[in-house]
Structures are given as C-alpha cells and as structure tokens.
Symmetry: C2
Subunit: 228 residues, 2 copies
Amino acid sequence: MNEQGDTPTAGAPTAPLAPGTRRPGGRTARTRAAVRDAVLTGLVEHGYPGLTVEYVAEHAGIHKTTLYRRWGNIEGLVADALDLAGEDSWAPPDTGSLEGDLRALAHTTAESFAAPATAAAPTAFIAAAFQSRRAAEALNAFYAGRFARCETIVGRAVARHELDRRTDAGALVRAVVSPLFLRLFITREPVDGELADQCAAAALAAARAGVFGTATDPEGADAPAGPA
Amino acid sequence: MNEQGDTPTAGAPTAPLAPGTRRPGGRTARTRAAVRDAVLTGLVEHGYPGLTVEYVAEHAGIHKTTLYRRWGNIEGLVADALDLAGEDSWAPPDTGSLEGDLRALAHTTAESFAAPATAAAPTAFIAAAFQSRRAAEALNAFYAGRFARCETIVGRAVARHELDRRTDAGALVRAVVSPLFLRLFITREPVDGELADQCAAAALAAARAGVFGTATDPEGADAPAGPA
C-alpha cells in the first residue's frame, strides 16, 4: 500500500549515499514516517541543537507523550529517522562495467549533495552525528548498509573477470566517494562531474594495481595463504 | 620572544591536517592566542551552539567589550581561531621518496585524529563549520593552506622523476587523506595505520596511472595544449 506514495518532503528519491531522502509506504509505517519527516524538517531548519520533541510532536501531528514512550528522547528520534532512511530498496548503479558503475556511483553521490533539496537532510544527519552519540551510531549503521549494497558492484566485476576476487570491496567503494565527502563536509570545496570521474578513475586504478587486495579469498579457493 | 613557548592547551604540536592544535609565540600574539585557546576549549566543551562571547571572555581573561570590538561576534571569534591555526610553520613530511611522504602524511593524519587530545579541537572546528558560514569559510581557507603546503611532496617527486610534472598535486594529496576523513567524520569507522598505508598506496597507484594528470604543464614546457 502506498509503496511509492506520498511526495517526499525531504528531497528527491535518488540519493544513494544521502540518508533521509526516501519515504517508505505501508499503513503501519505512516506514523514512523511522519515522525521521521518532522525530525528531518526540524534538523534542516534548526540543526540538532535546536531540535526538540515538542517541535517533532507538532509537525508530525502526534502527541508528545507518544513520542517519549516510543522513542525516548530527541536522540532516539534522530537515530530512528536514520534507521528508517536505511530501510529503503536502493541499489547501486548497474551499467555493465566496473568503470561505468564506479563513475555512476561517484556522479550520483556528487549530484545528490550538490542540489540543496537533496543535500539538506543528509547534511543535517551528518552534522547531528557530531553532537549525538546515538546519531553517530545510526549514521555508522546507515553507511555500513549503503556500502555493503555497493559491494555488489565489485562482485559483478569479479564475475566479469574485471577484478581479482580478493579485492576488498568495501575499501574500493569507499575510496570512490571519499574525495567527494572530504570536499563537501571538511574542506568545503565544490564538487562536480569532472571530479566525480576522477574519483572513480583513481579508485579503479588503485584496485587494478592490487591496492585493495586482501589476503583471504572470499570463495576460499586460491587464497595465497593456502588452505589449512 | 617565546617562539616555542607556552604549553599548548589544545593538543600536541604534531597535527598537520588538524586545525587548532598549535599555539604561536610572540608578545603581540598573546591576546589572540588566549582568545583562541578559550574558543577551542569552549568548542570542545560545549560545541558551537553552546559557545558564547561571555565564555570566551571569562576563559581568556579579556573584557567582553574588547572581544566584540575586535572580533564582532562568536562567528568572528571561531573564524579567527581557525585563521590563527593556519599561521603556523608546519611543513609536510620529507622522507626522500614519494611513497614515504604520502605514507607519512596519511599516518600523521590518522594519528592526530585518533588521539582524543589532538582530535578534540579540530573535530570541534569541523563541526562548527556545519553551523556557521564564517567557520566554514575559515575551515576552507585552513585546508586550502594545508594542502597547498602538501603540494611540495609532489614537487619533490617530480624533481626526482617519480611523477609526471603535469600531476595535479592538490588532487593527489587530497586523495591520500580522503578515506581517513570519510571514516572519521562521515561513516564513523575506525582508522589505523594499515588503512593509512592503503590510502597512500591507492593515491600513489592512481597518480602513477595518470589519473591526476592535468592538461597544463606548470613549467609551460611540453604541455599537450601547446603554447599560446
């Protein structure tokens, strides 16, 4: 029910590495989604320090005591909004080649954070993680899930004999987007499509050079450490 | 004139890519340094949203009206503390090889953010940049300065014929540290020396593969675009 439904209030539906831009469907999820939307709006408007349970109650149209009972406090509300953001069905790009997939991943990351509408909510989550341990843990879990999904890019490349099967997929996909996140949230420099291409090319060159190699073979076959 | 003087209150003196961990000497700088230290302490203790001019005045032992007159407001105080952090004499590692320099850069970055004492102040600055445009601009300037200094690593490598002279030094040095910053401040994952080695190796492999190549030769000699 309402699987695709409702206009997202916190951004467009294409923001793979940007928490908080999708909205789930289903009757039982409606309250949670309303709370999540109110949390996002509040985070974007006021930042974590200015977000209150009262604000969320008012904007979600849900009584404050319900929020306290179910989510405990403002940290619980923010953490659950992040958990919910990770429960979508997003899958990484599948272009038919490793290079194409990595470029698409870099481009979609750069684009989602370059547009104010899609960048506001994830940026607010990233900022909240500096101030709330629970938000930081939830952000860690969100990205662990996102990058785990991205590992399919590497799995397909191994199947196509584009990469050694001992490649550390998690390290590779993180390498692709790292220079974008550095510029967006640390050095505060612009990112664009040209940089996205460079990010993908750099990670690919490193992967081909064996930099992300692990000692263990995921299939247990021809690992250099031998059987035993 | 106390060039090396005074115990740093905000961290050890070896934190190249970590703003706010050094303290300048000199009589005329004493007030500014005291204010900077108070800003850092306040940021670490209360975060940007909890930092007040009153707090800085009390902890720096300087009258509030002086702070308002010279720095304007709390944003001005934070921005100046960051500007001051960038005015040290830090130089990137010089180990005699490109690989050694990049590894040393990655290791010192990972280490400075792994130790709570040296990580607190720079982390507070990075967090403040989410909430203050002036802090974001000052952080951008701080890192622009830091990475510009790091470009000497690439210059030396070109002189040793380890790298093509058309290598984009800024892109290369940012690539080295990006995966560390991603894990430290976005995905909230641990970083260690092994990861630092991988970061350096990945950036080096990409550089050797020509990924950071630019169309223009800094010496104006054999640029593919030709003269004029």
